[in-house]
Symmetry: C3
Subunit: 345 residues, 3 copies
């Protein structure tokens, strides 16, 4: 692809018309990470850490921050460059020009097993060994990869993608433009057992899961249905791999949860919340809009909107940083206190 072709494609995507670039026009064969950039590829200088790469990379083109110095250095080294306010977004948009993930042509594989009651939209793909039970509906342009199983009464919207070996349980509702990655289990029974003198009594889980439009669920993640009512994940919220969402959780829009996050039953999460890897949230906690939890935080209580929390038990991030720094000095503090006590005796 010509560099000028990239500019032509990206220009309409930059809403504030602030795309900058020089006028070299090399041919480009692909996109590469800056650490291993090759000739005839375009690469991305992310942040200060890689800034000096401008001076020795063999990349033929670069996506740069809005930084005059780097731009001049690139031009001087005969490197084509482009930049804008959000170079990471530019990087993402450029990748999409070179690469689209595997997506098969619409077709129903003859070895898919589909109940006659299933309603299938236009331009749908259903792969081999997919099993779809009674009264399921699949929206237009939906893509169900091989070996997926869909239990009865599930509704799936338009242009949604289910990767191989995932299981969608009864009555789950999945919106438009969702992606469910391999091995994920959506709508399985919540973990509900009532202690009795005779042991655990199983509470049937009569509720169901709702994934709103644009939700993405990572590989081998699990979103459970509740005993009554719904478990809901709001519009455009993205979950990474191996995440656990227990019964009855109500999660807002535009959140992101990194891998191995676990939410206990009935947790409420607002909009635009970010949970880093391995965060855990206890039963019934309420996390306000825009809150952020650092990796491995253990949240036992409500978190206010916009709050940043860390640690276990989670406290405000700024306090955590100070306390964690002093944690290392505990042995020394202990000795000092001992000395002081002796001195005063």
């Amino acid at each position: 692809m010509k560099f000028s072709q990239i500019i032509k494609n990206l220009n309409p995507l930059i809403s504030d018309h602030s795309l900058n670039y020089n006028t070299y026009d090399p041919d480009l064969l692909g996109i590469t990470p800056i650490e291993e950039a090759k000739s005839e590829t375009i690469s991305y200088i992310e942040g200060d850490k890689f800034a000096n790469k401008v001076n020795d990379t063999v990349a033929t083109a670069l996506i740069l921050p809005n930084n005059k110095k780097l731009q001049e250095d690139s031009t001087q080294r005969n490197i084509a460059w482009l930049s804008c306010q959000n170079p990471r977004l530019l990087f993402a948009q450029t990748i999409a020009l070179f690469y689209q993930p595997f997506r098969p042509q619409p077709a129903i594989h003859p070895q898919a097993i589909i109940d006659p009651s299933v309603i299938i939209g236009r331009e749908v793909y259903v792969g081999a060994n997919v099993v779809i039970e009674k009264n399921v509906s699949l929206g237009d342009h939906t893509c169900i990869m091989p070996n997926v199983v869909i239990y009865p009464e599930v509704k799936i919207g338009k242009n949604t993608l289910l990767h191989s070996n995932c299981t969608i349980h009864e009555r789950t509702q999945i919106g438009n433009n969702c992606v469910i990655h391999s091995g994920a289990a959506i709508g399985a029974e919540g973990f509900g057992f009532v202690p009795t003198p005779q042991g655990w009594y199983k509470m049937e889980q009569s509720g169901y899961v709702i994934l709103e439009d644009g939700v993405e669920i990572g590989c081998n993640s699990a979103v459970d249905r509740p005993s009554v009512g719904t478990t809901r994940i709001g519009k455009n919220t993205k979950l990474d791999n191996l995440v656990h969402i227990a019964h009855s959780c109500q999660i807002g829009e535009n959140c992101a949860m990194a891998a191995q996050v676990g939410l206990a039953g009935g947790v409420t999460v607002g909009n635009n919340v970010i949970l880093a890897g391995q965060v855990g949230i206890a039963n019934q906690a309420i996390i306000g809009d825009g809150a952020i939890a650092s990796a491995k935080a253990g949240i036992h209580q409500n978190v206010a909107p916009g709050e940043v929390v860390s640690g276990y038990p989670a406290i405000s991030h700024s306090l955590y940083l100070k306390a964690a720094a002093i944690y290392k000095r505990l042995p020394e503090m202990y000795q000092t206190i001992k000395k002081l006590t002796k001195l005063l005796d």
Copy 2:
């Protein structure tokens, strides 16, 4: 369903004959969570948090705690109510009157692939694309959902349910009335590698997994087989999603482990133990009967019967609460010690 019909069904289940109720007899169409209760449904007032809902809910019937005030308030608002000593159990029993999970009629799907040596009990369901290898036996009323794979020499008891996309590895023994949820892997090779100057030497895992009667394993959980002997999970123990049980663990009866718990090799867990979410237990640790570990606890040593532990490393829960409260004051303590030291110099 008539309210009186619910009472009629539940009365024999309440072992101490202590079911209380008023005499309204409305028609009920379903069961709903109290936060979003609708007319013509029955709902559940759980604990004090929702007690005031009695005064404004539109639910037509309520399951209540044994609380005179709430009962009188309900009657006054023309709400049918019932209560007993264990209202949560009553709630669970009521759900089961309105809802039963999807369970297909007994049948062997023509696209299941079953070795001729497999022994199949009466009234068994085997779904599409299930693969069952040599010398497996399936007890009466067992239900194997689509796309499950069962390796050779596996024994499965009566009335056990395997959800889609789970894998049962060689020689696993699963008892009666068990549930294995989607994507779970039972009996795969334990993580056994011996360090040598030439690198890791793989230790073959010749043992097998035993799940006793009434065991439930959550979605995408893994229970590994050991190098020799068995990995055992005792009667009626329940595991949530994404739990890891390493080789040789010996787990007692009636335990509950929440999501993302991980047990290292050779851990022994007694009966009636409760492990909250993301708890980790180190190699060979012994957890006594009735012990409880709070969410995210990291257990490196034995835990005595009945002990409640928290924190990382795990200590007694009461001590943990105090230490965690003071953790936040570490910066302030550090400053005070500095001041005191200066003063005494």
Copy 3:
């Protein structure tokens, strides 16, 4: 098997010719754990914890440490024994004499669905309901268990084993002698979303995953592909169950990662690194050769080669042990400081 036959088989495997044994020659039917050893089996005395078992076990033969006392006691009790410098390795080698895991004979199951473009080596097994997309190649002696799905352009080396229900995504490269356990997802899209005023913008993941020779990936683990470039796991590195490796991670050779470990994006791990269960490593951190992280460590910064770290945030293990010991005394320290302050006022 005769005991002398075991000796005969093991002798050539012990590189330093230091295999010791007595001359009893019983018949042995199997190998058992010492806690439940039976007559006519061989068992293994591991470390001091089980040393006194020599005096009461009913095992007919024992693998012992190089310990004269234990050897004499065994001989006196008419127990055949063998020992060498690395008895754990001896144990592993003995298991392999009695047991080999299930591995089907080479064959392509008629109900496997294989694109005509797929290149299949000699002596390959492809099980029922396996789906293999375009331009995949499978090396000689490869074994693909039932219900595996392989996306397009995947390359798999020789003698590699894929267990049931795992999914290998587009363009993944898997070396020779690898094992991918049930439910694992290799090469799925990395978790890449760029925040914009309109919400998350999906960054396509055009890179791919490389698993070098001898890599093992545990059940339901996930190794993601990056936006550009590769995610790489080096030769003979072993991952346990439910491990998450994010996009762009570069992992060295001969590492071991226990269950539920999570690596965020772009982490670099050297050779011979050991990560215990539930360890988390933050974005872009660099872990030096031979480093060790204790269970549940939360690593936010680089770790030097050979360093042992523990805790959250992770610090040097020796400091952690001291600080953790004093953590329990925080309430007492707090009171002492209060008293001292009062005294000085």
